[in-house]
Structures are given as structure tokens and as C-alpha cells.
């Protein structure tokens, strides 16, 4: 499939020149095209932030909702129509800060969705405040003395919660990122893909060069079924590993667990109300003669 099928024409893209969101946009289109996922069968769900604008630049079904609340909406969309490919995509501030609580509980719920997080370690939309993943010592116009909070570690949290697929990529490596996104989309169950994304305007610390210098790919020998090993890799900080950290293959999804699909595969949105059942319920409330 040609990636052009996802292209929007005559649109203004609000990202700065050199923004790491551009390669992610391109890579995601390629991954979807290679997986032959039709725009009609895809929903991109986002919250608020620069990364959350990605659905606006994509010719497909789009849900751009509230700050931090993309995951609950994505869970419900998937539950209403399990045939859709649902990708919930936003930035680190949206997913790990404002939406941190939903992040935890979506992992526990395990809907069959892909959660792509553009992790640039800064709030780009509001022009450069520290985000939950900002490194200690990172100086901003608001964190004038430098960040002193421990950075949020999304991978370690996801693995601790036994998330069914946990990976990290770097936006500067399109080829590897595409392959990982493809695996995440194909994976059955919740899949987290945290993507290191340079912010050209507001993060002068974590640049393309910095990420190149401070990352490496997990060795082929890495056993992604080993939770302890995955957790150990996720807590490495001197150099950040990239690749697939952890897969829990046979975890039941939210859609499989909820009663409505256990006997009837028809998507929720197609079902008609059962008036017969309703009438018999009403009958039970009536006084006997």
C-alpha cells in the first residue's frame, strides 16, 4: 500500500522546522502502509500537546479529545468496534503527566490498542516547561534552578504492571522505529511504544546528537519474555536501551474479558437494542393482578 493514502493536502503543519514529530509522522504512515491497514479501519486517538496534533495531519479517522484523556477514549472506541486498529498517540506530558492515572489503569485493563508516546522530555506546546520525563538538572524558564524531580520511567512502570508489549525507539532511526511500531500494532493487547523525540525549539539538552550518544539497541540475545531482565534494562540510565523490552504474549485483552463479546462477536456499535428483553424486564416491575 502506498503511504500517500494517509497524506493530507493543503494543511498547515504547526510543528517547528527540525521537530522530531516529522519523522514519526512519516514512519507511522510507512508502518501502517506496510501492514496494509486501510485508513477506513484505523482510528488515531490523541489528547493535547504538539505530539497530539499528529492525527490532524493524517487522512484517517481522528479523535482529538481532552488533555491526558486519550487512553480512556481509545479503550472505549476499541470496545465498541474491536475490528478497528486503534492507536492512542500523544506526548510525554499528556500520557505520563496529566494522563498518568489513565496510563496505569489502561495497562491493567489491557485493551488491544497501540499507545505511541512522543517522548521529548519537555512541554513543547506551552513553550518549554519541564515534563514528567525531563532529566534531573534540566533548566527551563520555569525550572530555573534545574529539575530536581526523579524522571518518570514509563517502561519500568509498564513492565512492573505486566504490560503486554513494551518498547522504546528513537525518532532519528526511522527504519528501526517503523519495524517496532509494526510489531506493536500487530501485537494482541496493549502495546507501549515510547519514542525518544528531539524538540528543536525547547529542549537544547536532549538533541539528535544527545539521543544518538545516549542510546543503544538491545542485543539480539535480550530475552523479552523475561520480566526481571526487561525491568533491569528499563532502569538503565547511563545509556538508554532501545528496542522491544518485554512481551507477554497470551494475556487476555479487555475486549476478550468483557462479557459482551464472549458469546456474540458482533461489534457493540452494530447491535440493536433488544426490545423483547426490555419488555420482559418492565413486566417484572408490574403488579400482579
Amino acid at each position: 500500500m502506498d503511504t500517500q493514502i494517509f497524506d493530507m493536502h493543503n494543511i498547515d503543519i504547526a510543528w517547528c522546522p527540525g521537530c522530531g514529530n516529522f519523522p514519526i509522522l512519516k514512519t507511522l504512515k510507512q508502518a501502517l502502509a506496510e501492514l496494509e491497514i486501510e485508513p477506513a479501519n484505523l482510528v488515531l486517538v490523541s489528547g493535547i500537546g504538539q505530539a497530539a496534533k499528529i492525527p490532524h495531519y493524517f487522512k484517517t479517522n481522528v479523535f482529538n479529545g481532552l488533555h491526558g484523556r486519550a487512553l480512556p477514549a481509545a479503550t472505549a472506541i476499541k470496545a465498541a468496534n474491536p475490528a478497528l486498529t486503534v492507536i492512542s498517540e500523544s506526548g510525554d506530558g499528556d500520557m505520563y503527566g496529566e494522563g498518568g492515572n489513565h496510563f496505569l489503569h489502561t495497562i491493567r485493563r489491557n485493551p488491544d490498542i497501540t499507545n505511541i508516546v512522543h517522548n521529548n522530555m519537555v512541554y513543547g506546546l506551552t513553550k518549554g516547561q519541564a515534563s514528567p520525563t525531563s532529566q534531573i538538572g534540566f533548566k527551563t524558564p520555569v525550572q530555573v534552578g534545574g529539575v530536581f524531580l526523579e524522571p518518570f520511567n514509563p517502561l519500568a512502570v509498564a513492565i512492573a504492571l505486566d504490560a503486554s508489549f513494551v518498547a522504546r525507539c528513537f525518532a532519528g532511526d526511522a527504519e528501526q522505529t517503523k519495524e517496532i511500531i509494526k510489531k506493536a500494532i500487530k501485537h494482541k493487547g496493549y502495546a507501549l511504544v515510547d519514542i525518544f523525540q528531539p524538540c528543536a525549539s525547547f529542549n537544547k539538552l536532549n538533541t539528535y546528537e544527545w539521543f544518538k550518544k545516549h542510546t543503544y539497541y538491545l542485543e539480539d540475545s535480550h530475552d523479552h519474555s523475561n520480566k526481571n531482565e526487561a525491568f533491569k534494562k528499563a532502569t538503565e540510565e547511563e545509556k538508554f536501551p532501545l528496542g522491544i523490552f518485554y512481551i507477554k504474549p497470551d494475556k487476555k485483552t479487555f475486549e476478550e474479558n468483557i462479557g459482551i463479546y464472549q458469546e456474540n462477536q458482533q461489534p457493540l456499535y452494530e447491535r440493536k437494542p433488544n426490545t423483547g428483553k426490555l419488555h420482559s424486564l418492565i413486566e417484572t416491575f408490574k403488579f400482579a393482578d
Binding site: T126, Q129, P141
Partner: protein, 350 residues
């Protein structure tokens, strides 16, 4: 100094002990300023993980008797409504700044006055009120902040300062001077450690038959006192006016220009500018409402304050609305046109 920075410095001057906030446009200058100045003063600045955290940090700091504030913009203020309701129930002072933008939903980041209902009616649940101050200049943003902390402490209420993106970004000369503070009651309710006295309890839960009713009636009596004593508004050339324009905030500045031009054309226009949106200057408007006048309410909304103007006029005069919603700002000439049209209508009527 832009309006947002002036407001922040005024909060420091007012003795704000702690600031909590989460990034949102168009008010980011406030936390940026506070992040630098509060530590210099030995006071607290925290960037929270969400607006919910920010308002609950205000809740906690206020419970200890310290002066605490937060600032945000419309969508963030919506998130804080739960906390504001609980602050009202627990009778704690707090100052909340809303540098508004267009809504509903994410809307846009242009200046708007579409949060009037949320501010004056209470966006949270339960029988409660918040005092709402609406500045129309950078100096008044300063004055409102100084007043806000005093009002909050005096009545143990949340005081909302409702400005917009224009005022936040605007630069004007200001005088930063602490005026003599009003006499404030001691904070004997605060959580300061119960050594040598009975413990204090901060709560908004009032179970038991009639207990909440008694509490709500106590709040009501307090709110009536605020209505009695704290109304602020400005009036100009209303005495002989055939058209009285009612507008607040930045819109009132545009009205002022349009009214002056109309006077040059011989149209008798006066204006009333509410500074407190709650308590609303109902009596001031009611007093000048009669059958020889038309009231024109101008807002950057689809029509919200106009309902309070109608309640104040109470059918004694026609009330006309002109508004620009969605973050659009009316021009002086646009308002002048509207005023001219009203003159024609008025003549036909007489």
C-alpha cells in the same frame, strides 16, 4: 512588565506564600515569573503534574493558614472546579486566576469572556459562591490581586480573578504599592498543630440530619454579607444617557472608545463597568434603569452577563446584546455602528 507578570508580582506583594500551577497558554508568564521570584522571597513554587494536583495543593496550603494561589486558563479552570467546590464547603480562602481563552472544549487561545457563567455561577457542584474580580487594565490586575487575597481571608472564600489573554499580554505602566489592608479575622481554624488547644478539622462533609442545611445557611449568610459590602463597579456619563452600555474587562475599554465617539456625534451614551462580576452590581444598574433608556450589553461571548443585566433591569428598560464569541474581539467602529442602530430604534419607539 506584561499583565501576567504584573499580576504575579502583585501576588507576591499581597503576601502569597505558595503558588501551584500547570502549564497552559495564555498564562505561562505567571508560573515562569513565580518560579523565579517565589524562591527569591523564600516562598513556595511548584509546577504540578495536572490542574487537579494544583488546586488540591492550594487546598492543602490554605488549610495550614497560608496564602495560596493557582493560575490557569479556561480548560484548566474547568478541571479545578471540583477543588473549588470543596474549598467552598470547607470554607478555606484561595485565589484562583483565570486568564481566559475561547471555548467550549479546547477552543482556541484567543481572548474570550465565555467563562462568565462558570465563574459567577460556580462550575462545581453544590450551593456555593466565589467572588469574581474582572480587571480591565494592567494596573487593575495588580489592584485586584491585592484585594483578592484580603477578600479570600476575610470571607474564607475562593476569589477568582477573571482576565483574558489580551490583559495578560498587554504592557502598561503600573504602580506597585500595598494599600492599607483591611482588618482581617484571625485564622484560628488553620492546621497549625494542636498543641495546647483543641484540634482543628478541615472538611466539607456534613452528615447528619439538618447539619448540611445549617452549614449551607451559614454560607448563605456569609455570601449575603459579600453582596452587601463588596460590590465594585465604575460608571461614566450615565445621568443623561439614552443608551447605557454594560461591559467588563477588556471589552469595557473598547466600549469606552465607542462611547466617546458616539458622544462626539451627539448620541448620549454612558457606560457601566462591573469590576466584581459576583457580587454583581445589580442595585447600581437597577437604580438607573428606566423607560427612557436602552441597555446594551457587550461581551466577548454568545451572551452570558446579559442575563445578570436583564435581572438587574427587571423589565424596566429594553436590554440588547452584542457579542463576539469564539475568541474574536469587537472593534470601536463595530460598537459605534451598533450604538447608531440603537439610536434609530430608540427614536422610532419614542
Amino acid at each position: 512588565m506584561c499583565g501576567n507578570e504584573a499580576l504575579a508580582e502583585a501576588a507576591i506583594l499581597a503576601g502569597c506564600d505558595a503558588y501551584f500551577g500547570y502549564p497552559i497558554t495564555p498564562q505561562n508568564e505567571i508560573p515562569a515569573y513565580m518560579s523565579r521570584r517565589m524562591p527569591e522571597e523564600g516562598r513556595v513554587f511548584v509546577q504540578s503534574e495536572s490542574e487537579l494536583a494544583a488546586i488540591n495543593m492550594v487546598f492543602g496550603a490554605s488549610a495550614t493558614g497560608k496564602r495560596a494561589m493557582t493560575s490557569s486558563s479556561s480548560p484548566g479552570i474547568s478541571l479545578m472546579q471540583e477543588g473549588i467546590s470543596y474549598l467552598a464547603g470547607a470554607e478555606l480562602p484561595a485565589v484562583v486566576v483565570n486568564i481566559t481563552r475561547g471555548g467550549p472544549g479546547l477552543g482556541n487561545i484567543s481572548p474570550a469572556q465565555s467563562d462568565y457563567f462558570q465563574a459567577t455561577r460556580g462550575g462545581g457542584h453544590g450551593d456555593y459562591r466565589t467572588i469574581v474580580l474582572a480587571p480591565s487594565s494592567v494596573q487593575e490586575m495588580v489592584d485586584c490581586m491585592l484585594l483578592a487575597f484580603d477578600l479570600a481571608d476575610q470571607y474564607r472564600m475562593t476569589v477568582l480573578v477573571l482576565a483574558d489573554g489580551i490583559l495578560g499580554q498587554m504592557m502598561e505602566p503600573i504602580v506597585l504599592e500595598k494599600k492599607p489592608s483591611r482588618e482581617l479575622p484571625p485564622k484560628d481554624w488553620a492546621l497549625t498543630g494542636a498543641k495546647g488547644r483543641e484540634q482543628n478539622i478541615i472538611r466539607s462533609l456534613w452528615l447528619g440530619e439538618g447539619v448540611l442545611e445549617k452549614h449551607n445557611n451559614k454560607l448563605k449568610a456569609k455570601y449575603e454579607q459579600v453582596q452587601e459590602n463588596e460590590v465594585l463597579c465604575e460608571q461614566y456619563e450615565v445621568d443623561d444617557a439614552e443608551i447605557v452600555v454594560v461591559a467588563y474587562g477588556v471589552t469595557a475599554r473598547i466600549v469606552r472608545g465607542a462611547a466617546a465617539k458616539a458622544r462626539e456625534e451627539g448620541i448620549k451614551v454612558g457606560w457601566i463597568r462591573p469590576i466584581t462580576l459576583w457580587p454583581f452590581p445589580t442595585e447600581q444598574i437597577s437604580k438607573v434603569a428606566n423607560e427612557f433608556r436602552i441597555f446594551l450589553t457587550v461581551e466577548m461571548s454568545a451572551g452570558q452577563m446579559v442575563e445578570d443585566v436583564k435581572l438587574a433591569v427587571a423589565g424596566k428598560a429594553p436590554v440588547v446584546f452584542y457579542g463576539r464569541p469564539g475568541g474574536s474581539v469587537p472593534t470601536v467602529d463595530e460598537l459605534l455602528d451598533k450604538i447608531r442602530q440603537l439610536t434609530l430604534r430608540h427614536e422610532i419607539k419614542i
